[in-house]
Amino acid sequence: MAIDTRVNLGGLEMATPLTTASGTFGYGTEYLGAVDYSCLGAATVKGVRMSPWPGNQMPRHVEVPGGLVNAIGLQGPGIDEFLSHYVPLYREKLCGLPMIVNIWGGSIEEYAEVAARLDAAAAAASGAFAVECNVSCPNVKAGGHTFGQDPEVLRCLVGEVRKATRLPLVVKLAPNVPDVRPYVRACEDGGADAISLINTIPAMVIDVEARRPVLANRTGGLSGRAVHPVAVKAVWDAARATSLPILAMGGVYEAKDALEFLLAGATAVAIGTAVFSNPGVVREVHDGIIDYCRRHGFDSVRELKGAMLQ
Protein backbone atom coordinates (compact mmCIF):
# COMPACT_ATOMS: atom_id res chain seq x y z
CA MET A 1 0.00 0.00 0.00
CA ALA A 2 1.23 3.47 -0.84
CA ILE A 3 2.12 5.58 2.17
CA ASP A 4 0.11 8.81 2.35
CA THR A 5 2.75 11.57 2.45
CA ARG A 6 0.44 14.60 2.45
CA VAL A 7 0.59 17.12 5.27
CA ASN A 8 -1.12 20.42 6.01
CA LEU A 9 1.14 23.16 7.33
CA GLY A 10 -1.21 25.78 8.76
CA GLY A 11 -3.39 25.78 5.65
CA LEU A 12 -0.66 25.04 3.11
CA GLU A 13 -1.36 21.66 1.49
CA MET A 14 1.93 19.85 0.87
CA ALA A 15 2.21 16.60 -1.11
CA THR A 16 5.16 15.56 1.04
CA PRO A 17 6.40 16.82 4.44
CA LEU A 18 9.58 18.19 2.88
CA THR A 19 10.59 21.71 1.89
CA THR A 20 13.88 23.56 1.51
CA ALA A 21 15.39 26.01 4.03
CA SER A 22 15.29 29.69 3.09
CA GLY A 23 18.60 31.05 1.85
CA THR A 24 19.95 27.68 0.83
CA PHE A 25 17.70 27.19 -2.19
CA GLY A 26 17.79 30.51 -4.05
CA TYR A 27 14.48 31.37 -5.69
CA GLY A 28 13.52 27.73 -6.13
CA THR A 29 14.70 26.84 -9.63
CA GLU A 30 18.50 26.90 -9.23
CA TYR A 31 18.79 23.22 -8.37
CA LEU A 32 16.79 21.94 -11.37
CA GLY A 33 18.68 18.97 -12.77
CA ALA A 34 20.27 18.01 -9.44
CA VAL A 35 17.42 17.91 -6.89
CA ASP A 36 14.40 15.62 -7.37
CA TYR A 37 11.64 18.20 -7.00
CA SER A 38 8.90 15.54 -7.01
CA CYS A 39 9.97 14.70 -3.44
CA LEU A 40 9.23 18.23 -2.20
CA GLY A 41 5.92 19.40 -0.80
CA ALA A 42 6.99 23.05 -1.17
CA ALA A 43 10.10 25.11 -1.88
CA THR A 44 11.09 27.88 0.52
CA VAL A 45 12.87 30.78 -1.16
CA LYS A 46 15.45 33.37 -0.08
CA GLY A 47 14.40 36.20 2.23
CA VAL A 48 12.80 39.18 0.46
CA ARG A 49 12.10 42.71 1.67
CA MET A 50 10.64 45.85 0.02
CA SER A 51 13.76 47.22 -1.66
CA PRO A 52 16.88 45.53 -3.09
CA TRP A 53 19.48 44.76 -0.42
CA PRO A 54 23.22 44.28 -1.13
CA GLY A 55 24.07 41.93 1.76
CA ASN A 56 27.38 41.82 3.63
CA GLN A 57 30.98 42.09 2.43
CA MET A 58 32.98 38.99 1.42
CA PRO A 59 33.99 36.57 2.88
CA ARG A 60 30.46 35.56 3.70
CA HIS A 61 30.99 31.98 4.82
CA VAL A 62 33.46 29.59 6.35
CA GLU A 63 33.35 25.81 6.52
CA VAL A 64 33.62 24.34 10.05
CA PRO A 65 33.50 20.76 11.33
CA GLY A 66 29.91 19.60 10.98
CA GLY A 67 28.65 22.62 9.10
CA LEU A 68 28.96 26.14 7.92
CA VAL A 69 29.08 29.61 9.45
CA ASN A 70 27.50 32.16 7.14
CA ALA A 71 26.92 35.89 7.15
CA ILE A 72 25.37 36.40 3.74
CA GLY A 73 23.34 39.31 5.10
CA LEU A 74 20.06 38.69 3.27
CA GLN A 75 21.15 39.94 -0.17
CA GLY A 76 18.12 40.10 -2.42
CA PRO A 77 16.39 41.90 -5.26
CA GLY A 78 13.46 43.47 -3.39
CA ILE A 79 9.77 42.66 -3.77
CA ASP A 80 9.25 44.26 -7.22
CA GLU A 81 11.85 42.17 -9.04
CA PHE A 82 10.93 39.15 -6.95
CA LEU A 83 7.32 39.34 -8.16
CA SER A 84 8.06 40.34 -11.76
CA HIS A 85 10.95 37.95 -12.41
CA TYR A 86 11.40 35.17 -9.86
CA VAL A 87 7.76 34.21 -9.24
CA PRO A 88 6.91 33.80 -12.96
CA LEU A 89 10.16 31.84 -13.49
CA TYR A 90 9.27 29.57 -10.59
CA ARG A 91 5.75 28.95 -11.90
CA GLU A 92 7.05 28.30 -15.41
CA LYS A 93 9.59 25.72 -14.24
CA LEU A 94 7.93 24.23 -11.15
CA CYS A 95 4.23 24.69 -11.98
CA GLY A 96 2.04 24.07 -8.95
CA LEU A 97 4.71 23.33 -6.32
CA PRO A 98 3.74 25.49 -3.32
CA MET A 99 6.14 28.36 -2.68
CA ILE A 100 6.96 29.47 0.86
CA VAL A 101 8.19 33.05 0.64
CA ASN A 102 10.57 34.07 3.42
CA ILE A 103 10.19 37.78 4.26
CA TRP A 104 12.00 40.33 6.41
CA GLY A 105 12.19 44.08 6.93
CA GLY A 106 13.70 46.94 8.86
CA SER A 107 10.42 47.79 10.57
CA ILE A 108 7.13 46.14 11.46
CA GLU A 109 5.49 48.25 8.75
CA GLU A 110 7.90 46.86 6.15
CA TYR A 111 7.09 43.25 7.09
CA ALA A 112 3.39 44.03 6.72
CA GLU A 113 3.95 45.82 3.42
CA VAL A 114 5.86 42.86 1.92
CA ALA A 115 3.16 40.48 3.13
CA ALA A 116 0.45 42.63 1.58
CA ARG A 117 2.26 42.69 -1.77
CA LEU A 118 2.58 38.90 -1.68
CA ASP A 119 -1.08 38.54 -0.78
CA ALA A 120 -2.12 40.57 -3.82
CA ALA A 121 0.32 38.78 -6.13
CA ALA A 122 -0.74 35.33 -4.92
CA ALA A 123 -4.37 36.12 -5.66
CA ALA A 124 -3.40 36.87 -9.27
CA ALA A 125 -0.92 33.99 -9.73
CA SER A 126 -1.50 30.26 -10.03
CA GLY A 127 -0.28 27.79 -7.41
CA ALA A 128 -0.17 27.94 -3.64
CA PHE A 129 1.89 30.40 -1.58
CA ALA A 130 2.70 30.82 2.09
CA VAL A 131 4.61 33.49 3.99
CA GLU A 132 7.48 32.69 6.36
CA CYS A 133 8.34 35.67 8.53
CA ASN A 134 12.04 35.69 9.42
CA VAL A 135 12.45 37.32 12.84
CA SER A 136 15.63 35.45 13.64
CA CYS A 137 18.45 36.22 11.18
CA PRO A 138 21.64 36.84 13.19
CA ASN A 139 23.37 38.59 10.27
CA VAL A 140 21.66 41.93 9.76
CA LYS A 141 21.65 44.74 12.29
CA ALA A 142 18.37 46.46 11.51
CA GLY A 143 16.12 43.59 10.49
CA GLY A 144 15.39 40.11 11.61
CA HIS A 145 16.77 39.35 14.98
CA THR A 146 15.62 42.40 16.88
CA PHE A 147 11.97 41.50 16.29
CA GLY A 148 12.41 37.93 17.44
CA GLN A 149 14.05 38.64 20.80
CA ASP A 150 11.15 40.34 22.58
CA PRO A 151 7.83 38.45 22.84
CA GLU A 152 5.77 41.66 22.98
CA VAL A 153 7.40 43.11 19.85
CA LEU A 154 6.99 39.73 18.16
CA ARG A 155 3.26 39.57 18.98
CA CYS A 156 2.80 43.03 17.54
CA LEU A 157 4.75 42.16 14.37
CA VAL A 158 2.86 38.93 13.78
CA GLY A 159 -0.43 40.77 14.35
CA GLU A 160 0.39 43.42 11.73
CA VAL A 161 1.53 40.84 9.18
CA ARG A 162 -1.62 38.82 9.90
CA LYS A 163 -3.78 41.82 9.04
CA ALA A 164 -1.87 42.23 5.76
CA THR A 165 -2.31 38.71 4.37
CA ARG A 166 -4.69 35.77 4.19
CA LEU A 167 -1.87 33.43 3.08
CA PRO A 168 -0.75 30.73 5.49
CA LEU A 169 1.56 32.58 7.89
CA VAL A 170 4.61 30.83 9.33
CA VAL A 171 6.85 32.63 11.83
CA LYS A 172 10.51 31.58 11.96
CA LEU A 173 12.00 31.64 15.44
CA ALA A 174 15.55 31.84 16.75
CA PRO A 175 17.19 29.01 18.71
CA ASN A 176 19.13 31.29 21.04
CA VAL A 177 16.46 32.16 23.58
CA PRO A 178 16.42 30.69 27.09
CA ASP A 179 12.81 29.54 26.77
CA VAL A 180 10.92 29.29 23.49
CA ARG A 181 7.45 29.25 25.09
CA PRO A 182 6.76 32.99 25.36
CA TYR A 183 7.73 33.40 21.69
CA VAL A 184 5.46 30.57 20.59
CA ARG A 185 2.62 32.15 22.55
CA ALA A 186 3.34 35.52 20.94
CA CYS A 187 2.98 33.85 17.52
CA GLU A 188 -0.33 32.28 18.56
CA ASP A 189 -1.67 35.55 19.97
CA GLY A 190 -0.58 37.43 16.84
CA GLY A 191 -2.50 35.03 14.62
CA ALA A 192 0.24 32.89 13.05
CA ASP A 193 -0.79 29.63 11.34
CA ALA A 194 2.48 27.79 11.99
CA ILE A 195 5.97 28.29 13.37
CA SER A 196 9.31 27.27 11.95
CA LEU A 197 12.59 26.71 13.72
CA ILE A 198 15.51 26.81 13.98
CA ASN A 199 17.34 29.61 12.23
CA THR A 200 21.14 29.54 12.36
CA ILE A 201 22.87 29.81 15.76
CA PRO A 202 25.06 32.92 16.30
CA ALA A 203 28.68 31.88 15.78
CA MET A 204 32.17 33.18 15.11
CA VAL A 205 35.42 31.89 13.63
CA ILE A 206 38.80 33.58 14.16
CA ASP A 207 41.83 33.24 11.89
CA VAL A 208 44.51 32.96 14.55
CA GLU A 209 47.42 33.55 12.15
CA ALA A 210 45.89 36.79 10.91
CA ARG A 211 44.37 37.56 14.34
CA ARG A 212 41.15 38.61 12.66
CA PRO A 213 37.63 37.22 12.38
CA VAL A 214 37.30 35.15 9.20
CA LEU A 215 33.96 36.65 8.16
CA ALA A 216 33.81 40.25 6.96
CA ASN A 217 30.74 40.65 9.18
CA ARG A 218 32.88 39.25 12.04
CA THR A 219 30.08 37.02 13.30
CA GLY A 220 27.65 34.74 11.49
CA GLY A 221 25.24 31.87 11.95
CA LEU A 222 26.03 28.18 12.29
CA SER A 223 24.02 25.65 10.25
CA GLY A 224 24.41 22.04 9.22
CA ARG A 225 24.99 18.76 11.00
CA ALA A 226 26.32 20.43 14.17
CA VAL A 227 23.05 22.24 14.97
CA HIS A 228 20.76 19.24 14.59
CA PRO A 229 20.48 18.11 18.25
CA VAL A 230 19.91 21.74 19.29
CA ALA A 231 17.11 21.96 16.73
CA VAL A 232 15.48 18.70 17.86
CA LYS A 233 15.31 20.03 21.43
CA ALA A 234 13.90 23.36 20.26
CA VAL A 235 11.22 21.63 18.18
CA TRP A 236 10.33 19.31 21.03
CA ASP A 237 9.99 22.26 23.44
CA ALA A 238 7.89 24.21 20.95
CA ALA A 239 5.64 21.25 20.16
CA ARG A 240 4.78 20.85 23.83
CA ALA A 241 3.96 24.55 24.13
CA THR A 242 1.62 24.98 21.16
CA SER A 243 -0.90 23.27 18.96
CA LEU A 244 0.30 25.27 15.94
CA PRO A 245 1.93 23.05 13.30
CA ILE A 246 5.72 23.21 13.24
CA LEU A 247 8.09 23.35 10.27
CA ALA A 248 11.37 21.98 11.64
CA MET A 249 14.85 22.55 10.26
CA GLY A 250 18.48 22.35 11.26
CA GLY A 251 21.03 19.80 10.08
CA VAL A 252 18.89 17.32 8.18
CA TYR A 253 21.32 15.11 6.22
CA GLU A 254 19.43 11.81 6.19
CA ALA A 255 15.96 10.38 6.83
CA LYS A 256 16.74 9.67 10.47
CA ASP A 257 17.26 13.41 11.10
CA ALA A 258 13.88 14.32 9.57
CA LEU A 259 12.18 11.49 11.47
CA GLU A 260 13.53 12.87 14.75
CA PHE A 261 11.80 16.16 13.98
CA LEU A 262 8.50 14.46 13.10
CA LEU A 263 8.57 12.31 16.23
CA ALA A 264 9.38 15.39 18.31
CA GLY A 265 6.16 16.94 17.03
CA ALA A 266 6.91 18.65 13.70
CA THR A 267 4.43 18.54 10.82
CA ALA A 268 6.95 19.25 8.07
CA VAL A 269 10.73 19.41 7.70
CA ALA A 270 13.07 21.69 5.74
CA ILE A 271 16.43 20.65 4.34
CA GLY A 272 19.07 23.37 4.02
CA THR A 273 22.85 23.17 4.26
CA ALA A 274 22.89 19.45 3.36
CA VAL A 275 21.76 20.24 -0.19
CA PHE A 276 25.04 22.11 -0.83
CA SER A 277 27.13 18.96 -0.44
CA ASN A 278 24.51 16.53 -1.71
CA PRO A 279 21.47 17.61 -3.76
CA GLY A 280 20.43 13.93 -3.73
CA VAL A 281 19.59 14.34 -0.03
CA VAL A 282 16.03 15.41 -0.85
CA ARG A 283 15.21 12.07 -2.49
CA GLU A 284 17.14 10.11 0.14
CA VAL A 285 15.19 11.70 3.01
CA HIS A 286 11.87 11.32 1.18
CA ASP A 287 12.41 7.64 0.43
CA GLY A 288 13.79 6.99 3.89
CA ILE A 289 10.67 8.42 5.56
CA ILE A 290 8.41 6.20 3.43
CA ASP A 291 10.55 3.17 4.19
CA TYR A 292 10.35 3.97 7.91
CA CYS A 293 6.55 4.23 7.75
CA ARG A 294 6.41 0.79 6.10
CA ARG A 295 8.72 -0.79 8.65
CA HIS A 296 6.87 0.70 11.61
CA GLY A 297 3.33 0.20 10.33
CA PHE A 298 2.33 3.82 9.73
CA ASP A 299 -0.06 4.37 6.80
CA SER A 300 0.49 8.10 6.69
CA VAL A 301 3.32 10.49 7.46
CA ARG A 302 0.86 12.49 9.57
CA GLU A 303 0.75 9.64 12.09
CA LEU A 304 4.42 10.23 12.85
CA LYS A 305 3.75 13.63 14.35
CA GLY A 306 4.63 13.45 18.02
CA ALA A 307 4.59 9.63 17.88
CA MET A 308 7.53 9.33 20.23
CA LEU A 309 6.96 6.78 22.99
CA GLN A 310 7.18 8.24 26.47
Partner: protein, 257 residues
Protein backbone atom coordinates in the same frame (compact mmCIF):
# COMPACT_ATOMS: atom_id res chain seq x y z
CA UNK B 1 23.42 21.08 -14.90
CA UNK B 2 23.34 17.58 -13.44
CA UNK B 3 24.75 15.87 -10.36
CA UNK B 4 26.62 12.96 -11.92
CA UNK B 5 28.31 9.92 -10.41
CA UNK B 6 31.54 10.02 -12.39
CA UNK B 7 34.45 7.60 -12.21
CA UNK B 8 38.12 8.46 -12.21
CA UNK B 9 39.74 7.60 -15.57
CA UNK B 10 43.20 8.78 -14.58
CA UNK B 11 44.89 10.94 -11.98
CA UNK B 12 48.48 12.02 -12.39
CA UNK B 13 50.99 14.47 -10.97
CA UNK B 14 52.01 17.43 -13.09
CA UNK B 15 54.70 18.86 -10.79
CA UNK B 16 54.65 21.98 -8.59
CA UNK B 17 51.88 20.46 -6.47
CA UNK B 18 49.45 20.18 -9.39
CA UNK B 19 47.50 17.14 -10.51
CA UNK B 20 45.44 16.33 -13.56
CA UNK B 21 42.22 14.46 -12.79
CA UNK B 22 40.35 12.91 -15.72
CA UNK B 23 36.76 11.90 -14.96
CA UNK B 24 34.44 9.69 -16.99
CA UNK B 25 31.44 12.03 -17.02
CA UNK B 26 29.40 11.14 -20.11
CA UNK B 27 26.33 12.96 -18.76
CA UNK B 28 27.95 16.39 -18.76
CA UNK B 29 31.04 16.16 -21.02
CA UNK B 30 29.31 17.12 -24.27
CA UNK B 31 27.49 20.08 -22.68
CA UNK B 32 30.54 21.62 -21.02
CA UNK B 33 31.89 24.89 -22.48
CA UNK B 34 35.23 26.63 -21.88
CA UNK B 35 35.23 28.75 -18.72
CA UNK B 36 32.57 26.65 -17.01
CA UNK B 37 33.39 24.80 -13.81
CA UNK B 38 32.42 21.64 -11.93
CA UNK B 39 31.58 21.25 -8.25
CA UNK B 40 33.36 18.20 -6.87
CA UNK B 41 32.37 16.21 -3.80
CA UNK B 42 35.70 14.97 -2.46
CA UNK B 43 34.91 11.32 -1.67
CA UNK B 44 37.38 10.97 1.19
CA UNK B 45 36.12 14.02 3.15
CA UNK B 46 33.27 13.68 5.67
CA UNK B 47 29.86 13.52 3.96
CA UNK B 48 28.84 17.00 5.14
CA UNK B 49 31.93 18.72 3.68
CA UNK B 50 31.22 21.38 1.07
CA UNK B 51 32.05 20.67 -2.54
CA UNK B 52 35.16 22.16 -4.18
CA UNK B 53 34.87 24.13 -7.44
CA UNK B 54 37.33 23.53 -10.30
CA UNK B 55 37.48 24.99 -13.79
CA UNK B 56 37.29 22.53 -16.63
CA UNK B 57 40.75 22.04 -18.16
CA UNK B 58 39.37 19.92 -20.96
CA UNK B 59 36.16 18.14 -21.93
CA UNK B 60 35.37 15.79 -24.74
CA UNK B 61 31.89 14.74 -25.76
CA UNK B 62 33.41 11.92 -27.81
CA UNK B 63 35.37 10.37 -24.93
CA UNK B 64 32.76 11.41 -22.37
CA UNK B 65 35.48 12.86 -20.14
CA UNK B 66 35.87 16.04 -18.10
CA UNK B 67 39.37 16.97 -16.90
CA UNK B 68 40.43 19.32 -14.11
CA UNK B 69 43.89 20.61 -13.27
CA UNK B 70 44.15 21.33 -9.57
CA UNK B 71 46.67 22.53 -7.05
CA UNK B 72 46.85 21.03 -3.56
CA UNK B 73 46.30 23.94 -1.18
CA UNK B 74 44.23 22.67 1.76
CA UNK B 75 42.39 19.75 3.28
CA UNK B 76 39.93 19.22 0.41
CA UNK B 77 42.49 19.15 -2.37
CA UNK B 78 44.83 17.07 -0.17
CA UNK B 79 42.04 14.52 0.33
CA UNK B 80 41.35 14.54 -3.41
CA UNK B 81 44.97 13.40 -3.99
CA UNK B 82 44.04 9.93 -2.78
CA UNK B 83 41.37 9.09 -5.39
CA UNK B 84 42.38 6.32 -7.79
CA UNK B 85 41.27 5.21 -11.25
CA UNK B 86 37.89 3.50 -10.98
CA UNK B 87 36.82 5.44 -7.85
CA UNK B 88 33.40 7.13 -7.94
CA UNK B 89 33.29 10.92 -7.58
CA UNK B 90 30.04 12.89 -7.36
CA UNK B 91 30.23 16.00 -9.57
CA UNK B 92 27.77 18.79 -10.35
CA UNK B 93 28.23 20.44 -13.70
CA UNK B 94 28.62 22.06 -16.03
CA UNK B 95 28.17 25.24 -13.99
CA UNK B 96 28.40 28.97 -14.65
CA UNK B 97 28.78 31.16 -17.70
CA UNK B 98 31.97 30.50 -19.63
CA UNK B 99 34.03 32.34 -22.24
CA UNK B 100 32.68 33.17 -25.68
CA UNK B 101 34.37 30.89 -28.23
CA UNK B 102 33.93 33.37 -31.10
CA UNK B 103 36.69 35.97 -31.15
CA UNK B 104 37.15 38.96 -33.42
CA UNK B 105 40.86 38.96 -34.36
CA UNK B 106 43.65 37.49 -32.26
CA UNK B 107 42.77 35.92 -28.91
CA UNK B 108 45.18 37.03 -26.19
CA UNK B 109 44.94 34.60 -23.27
CA UNK B 110 46.49 35.69 -19.97
CA UNK B 111 46.89 33.17 -17.16
CA UNK B 112 48.48 32.77 -13.77
CA UNK B 113 48.59 29.65 -11.57
CA UNK B 114 45.64 27.30 -12.08
CA UNK B 115 44.13 30.07 -14.21
CA UNK B 116 45.66 28.34 -17.21
CA UNK B 117 43.13 25.50 -16.73
CA UNK B 118 40.07 27.15 -18.32
CA UNK B 119 42.33 28.89 -20.88
CA UNK B 120 43.49 25.48 -22.12
CA UNK B 121 39.92 24.38 -22.86
CA UNK B 122 39.25 27.78 -24.42
CA UNK B 123 42.34 27.48 -26.66
CA UNK B 124 41.05 24.12 -27.87
CA UNK B 125 37.71 25.60 -28.93
CA UNK B 126 38.85 28.95 -30.38
CA UNK B 127 39.16 29.07 -34.16
CA UNK B 128 41.24 32.27 -34.33
CA UNK B 129 44.97 32.86 -33.83
CA UNK B 130 45.66 32.45 -30.12
CA UNK B 131 48.59 33.61 -27.98
CA UNK B 132 49.00 32.63 -24.34
CA UNK B 133 50.75 34.84 -21.79
CA UNK B 134 51.64 33.05 -18.57
CA UNK B 135 53.00 34.53 -15.41
CA UNK B 136 54.55 32.51 -12.57
CA UNK B 137 56.84 32.99 -9.60
CA UNK B 138 59.43 30.58 -10.92
CA UNK B 139 60.02 28.10 -13.76
CA UNK B 140 58.75 25.06 -11.83
CA UNK B 141 55.34 26.75 -11.34
CA UNK B 142 54.69 26.80 -15.09
CA UNK B 143 52.02 24.34 -16.03
CA UNK B 144 50.85 22.34 -19.00
CA UNK B 145 52.77 24.45 -21.54
CA UNK B 146 53.30 21.34 -23.68
CA UNK B 147 49.51 20.99 -23.88
CA UNK B 148 49.16 24.51 -25.22
CA UNK B 149 51.99 23.86 -27.71
CA UNK B 150 50.14 20.76 -28.90
CA UNK B 151 47.15 22.99 -29.68
CA UNK B 152 49.39 25.26 -31.78
CA UNK B 153 49.21 28.11 -29.28
CA UNK B 154 52.16 30.50 -29.16
CA UNK B 155 53.22 31.00 -25.52
CA UNK B 156 55.00 33.93 -23.88
CA UNK B 157 56.30 33.42 -20.36
CA UNK B 158 57.32 35.77 -17.57
CA UNK B 159 58.65 34.68 -14.16
CA UNK B 160 59.31 36.85 -11.14
CA UNK B 161 62.81 35.39 -10.72
CA UNK B 162 63.65 35.18 -14.42
CA UNK B 163 64.14 31.38 -14.27
CA UNK B 164 61.99 30.97 -17.40
CA UNK B 165 60.98 33.46 -20.10
CA UNK B 166 61.50 37.10 -19.27
CA UNK B 167 61.98 38.41 -15.73
CA UNK B 168 59.10 40.41 -14.31
CA UNK B 169 55.34 40.51 -14.71
CA UNK B 170 53.43 38.94 -17.56
CA UNK B 171 51.80 42.30 -18.31
CA UNK B 172 55.12 43.44 -19.91
CA UNK B 173 55.07 41.01 -22.88
CA UNK B 174 51.28 41.44 -23.02
CA UNK B 175 51.58 45.22 -23.37
CA UNK B 176 54.18 44.85 -26.13
CA UNK B 177 51.91 42.50 -28.07
CA UNK B 178 48.93 44.82 -27.58
CA UNK B 179 51.04 47.74 -28.88
CA UNK B 180 52.16 45.70 -31.90
CA UNK B 181 48.59 44.65 -32.80
CA UNK B 182 47.30 48.19 -32.39
CA UNK B 183 50.17 49.52 -34.51
CA UNK B 184 49.26 47.04 -37.25
CA UNK B 185 45.57 47.94 -36.94
CA UNK B 186 44.68 44.34 -36.05
CA UNK B 187 41.70 43.38 -33.90
CA UNK B 188 42.15 41.39 -30.68
CA UNK B 189 40.27 40.33 -27.53
CA UNK B 190 41.52 39.57 -24.02
CA UNK B 191 40.70 36.45 -21.99
CA UNK B 192 42.05 35.88 -18.50
CA UNK B 193 41.94 33.72 -15.38
CA UNK B 194 44.27 33.85 -12.39
CA UNK B 195 44.92 35.85 -9.22
CA UNK B 196 42.84 39.01 -8.66
CA UNK B 197 45.81 41.32 -9.29
CA UNK B 198 46.21 39.89 -12.78
CA UNK B 199 42.47 39.99 -13.49
CA UNK B 200 42.34 43.62 -12.49
CA UNK B 201 45.35 44.52 -14.67
CA UNK B 202 43.84 42.80 -17.72
CA UNK B 203 40.37 44.29 -17.04
CA UNK B 204 41.78 47.79 -16.88
CA UNK B 205 43.58 47.31 -20.19
CA UNK B 206 40.45 45.99 -21.92
CA UNK B 207 38.33 48.86 -20.62
CA UNK B 208 40.83 51.63 -21.36
CA UNK B 209 41.52 50.30 -24.88
CA UNK B 210 37.83 49.67 -25.54
CA UNK B 211 38.39 46.02 -26.57
CA UNK B 212 36.36 43.06 -25.35
CA UNK B 213 37.84 41.56 -22.19
CA UNK B 214 36.59 38.30 -20.67
CA UNK B 215 37.55 37.91 -17.04
CA UNK B 216 37.13 34.65 -15.11
CA UNK B 217 36.72 35.49 -11.42
CA UNK B 218 37.16 32.91 -8.63
CA UNK B 219 35.36 33.46 -5.35
CA UNK B 220 34.90 31.03 -2.49
CA UNK B 221 31.70 29.15 -3.16
CA UNK B 222 29.12 27.19 -1.23
CA UNK B 223 26.36 25.98 -3.57
CA UNK B 224 27.92 26.72 -6.96
CA UNK B 225 24.48 27.09 -8.56
CA UNK B 226 23.28 30.56 -7.53
CA UNK B 227 21.28 29.48 -4.48
CA UNK B 228 23.21 30.94 -1.53
CA UNK B 229 24.81 34.34 -2.43
CA UNK B 230 28.21 33.40 -0.96
CA UNK B 231 30.35 34.12 -4.03
CA UNK B 232 29.92 37.82 -4.67
CA UNK B 233 31.74 40.04 -7.16
CA UNK B 234 30.88 43.74 -7.41
CA UNK B 235 29.62 44.72 -10.84
CA UNK B 236 27.94 47.74 -12.42
CA UNK B 237 24.65 45.87 -11.92
CA UNK B 238 25.27 45.35 -8.17
CA UNK B 239 26.55 42.32 -6.27
CA UNK B 240 26.69 39.47 -8.81
CA UNK B 241 26.96 35.78 -8.01
CA UNK B 242 30.20 34.43 -9.52
CA UNK B 243 28.85 30.91 -9.83
CA UNK B 244 25.86 31.77 -11.98
CA UNK B 245 26.33 35.31 -13.33
CA UNK B 246 30.02 34.37 -13.90
CA UNK B 247 32.63 33.09 -13.36
CA UNK B 248 33.42 34.83 -16.68
CA UNK B 249 32.36 38.51 -16.73
CA UNK B 250 32.84 41.16 -19.42
CA UNK B 251 35.63 43.45 -18.18
CA UNK B 252 33.46 46.55 -18.45
CA UNK B 253 30.96 45.17 -15.93
CA UNK B 254 33.45 44.58 -13.12
CA UNK B 255 34.11 46.97 -10.25
CA UNK B 256 37.43 46.49 -8.44
CA UNK B 257 37.98 47.63 -4.86
Amino acid sequence: MIDETTTVASHCEMGAGYRLLVLNAPGMAAETRPGQFVHVKVPTLEASALRRPFSVFDASGQDGTVTVLYKTVGRGTAALNTVKPGDAVQVEGPLGRGFPTECNGTALLVGGGYGVAPLHFLARRLRTKTTLFVGARTASDLLALDRFAALGVETKVATNDGSAGEKGFVTAPLDREIARLRGAGEAFELFTCGPDGLLKAVSERAVSLGVPGWISVDRHMVCGVGACFACIQRTVGGNARCCIDGPVFPAKELIWQ
